[in-house]
Symmetry: C2
DNA sequence: TTGTAGGCGTTATCAA
DNA sequence: TTGATAACGCCTACAA
């Protein structure tokens, strides 16, 4: 027996109030079958009257579809991942998906299986994996495992056969930065890299090296120091670099924070920027334009990356649902752009 | 008839494989009723064998509980909201909740009702409302509306009778900053405020004014300019301030980005910081320690705010589920702390 | 155009 | 300790 109190209103209540069957209410709601104008009006009135809200759990149960995307991310304390998340949210909302968010707090050790299982258990329609590739934390990715998961799209990782990836071209970004420094007449261009366990850090370093070699320069070990993305490590990095190569007249840091640390060292040593030392960063964090001097940097279109990921995922979900054979997963790579500001302009000295 | 292909394994499959009933499998899984050791072993074996994963939709349907928290947030491009989100995620995970994320991209105009309805329809157990209070965008909050929603906790807003709020003490933060400047012997302390539609901006300005008046100083209008949180507006702000009060020897900006803009103006004008002008910010973004000079600022414990929100929400959910009368909602306010760095140290001139 | 019956995958109740 | 049965709230055939 139903007590009126403490009873959430269901589709049956609406049906009763509108003098129709539950099925008809459902049809009026989903529009999957025609409903007479008059009855639809009564139904809508009843819905408004009772304050009915369809239970998406029940709906998902029968539809085998939840309109939900699971997003696994890490490093939200950095600028990049947050931008990507914003892009994901925007696209997801416009396609009618909800977002189930799961942050990995230590992306090298977190229990990936547990996360995946939970997402599966919640029956998300698809997954966006926005966890940085560090060390072997992408080891779990293989066809066997993926086959037992909903469609999944990866962000910023080493392309791999059989998986859908949305990338940014880190090599190109580094090349733009380095070439720009060459064009400004810089002769000794150092690099403060990210941690070498990070795929992106290796790519950026590769771009720097390639460009130097292609220009007939050398890229010896003493021109590279490894940072950990923090401004503190950028600071330490530039000190070390200057020790190893006092004639350094330019430095390309693998992110803006480390570049900021480098700027600080220059100030402290009384080295003028860009006069005696040119500095270029990577990421274009909002603050970069207001550093002193303002920072030349590389901009990635991260929120586009997020948006693209959702679109690709949506396509995968749809083709799977229609039972069609899924086309081979693709890699999409977006090009970054160089943003030139004060910190790198003009000839040395 | 069931075809083996294309059939997700259910609890019934497990039951059959383990020669027990579905109910028993359920009991083994949830531990809500005792199950003989021998049968439990068989069940677990079958689960592993079949790769069974409970369907949380179905479970949620009957339990009337989804172990999900809806998080509505805005301004993720800023440092603060992201920190809060991280804190929320951490606490939620440890309490066994999933996070359904919904970002408002223009928090003044977005359709709040649509968001709330969607969350309700998905049957989240509770909601965390982390949308900045701007203008009248919190107008919808009233007892009548809240009564038709799951338990909800608000972040950083003007306390209001009948709603649970987790706050940071913005007035106190501004007081700490301003008092510090007074103690350093500064005589003319200006303020670059946030947009006055923002509650937090008004609070910080209030703290600044109070402190000056209590110290027997004046806080005339020409000592305040309104920014929009961006570094650009901080830049414009300081120019204006200096025009109005050439004798300005300190400025308190309502966030670190605007402080950064102010630093830039000082450099450009050749004004030494802190010698001729002391600068204090608010937020303690990671870059602040590496500005030139490093920035004195106010640190809020935002990830604690997020964690507390989850805990409070959890408590609300539990008492509601046990049918107990919910105790009157409370306001919890965390104290910020002043972080002193180079930009404010020492006497003027 | 509408109604009826059955099922989506679990858990809770009541017996056994 | 275990098994049958009836919900949970919705959608989809099939009939009418």
């Amino acid at each position: 027996m139903k007590t009126l109190s403490q009873h959430r209103v269901t589709i049956v209540d609406v049906a009763r109030a509108a003098h129709v069957s539950a099925g008809t209410v459902s049809n009026a709601l989903t529009g999957k079958r025609p409903v007479a104008e008059a009855t639809r009006a009564r139904i809508l009135a009843a819905i408004a009257d009772l304050g009915y809200q369809p239970n998406l759990l029940a709906r998902g149960l029968v539809n085998r579809r939840t309109q939900t995307i699971g997003v696994v991310a890490s490093g939200l304390e950095y600028y990049g991942p947050t931008r990507a998340l914003i892009g994901i949210d925007r696209a997801a909302t416009s396609l009618g998906y909800g977002l189930l968010l799961d942050l990995l707090h230590s992306p090298m050790e977190d229990d990936v299986e547990a996360v995946l299982n939970l997402l599966s258990a919640r029956r998300v329609d698809g997954i966006i994996w926005a966890v940085h590739e560090i060390g072997h934390n992408h080891r779990w990715i293989n066809e066997e495992r993926l086959s037992r998961l909903p469609p999944i799209v990866f962000l910023t990782m080493q392309p791999q056969p059989g998986v859908a990836v949305i990338n940014t071209d880190n090599v190109l970004g580094a090349r733009l930065a380095t070439r720009h420094l060459l064009e400004q007449g810089r002769r000794v261009i150092g690099h403060i890299s990210g941690p070498q366990e990070w795929w992106e850090a290796r790519e950026r370093q590769r771009g720097w090296r390639q460009t130097l070699l292609e220009a007939g320069r050398e890229a010896p070990e003493e021109l590279v120091v490894e940072g950990n993305w923090s401004a503190a490590s950028g600071e330490a990095g530039l000190y070390r670099l200057l020790e190893q190569r006092p004639d350094l007249d330019a430095v390309f840091a693998a992110n803006d924070q480390m570049a900021l640390g480098a700027l600080r060292v220059a100030h402290r040593l009384g080295k003028t920027v860009p006069g005696e030392l040119a500095v270029v960063g990577y990421d274009n964090i909002p603050e970069a334009a207001y550093f002193w001097p303002s920072l030349t940097t590389v901009r990635q279109h991260l929120s586009d990356v997020g948006g693209l990921a959702v679109q690709s995922l949506h396509a995968l979900v749809e083709t799977k649902r229609n039972g069609k054979e899924t086309p081979p997963p693709t890699v999409q790579t977006l090009s970054p752009e160089l943003i030139v500001r004060e910190s790198s302009l003009g000839q040395a000295h």
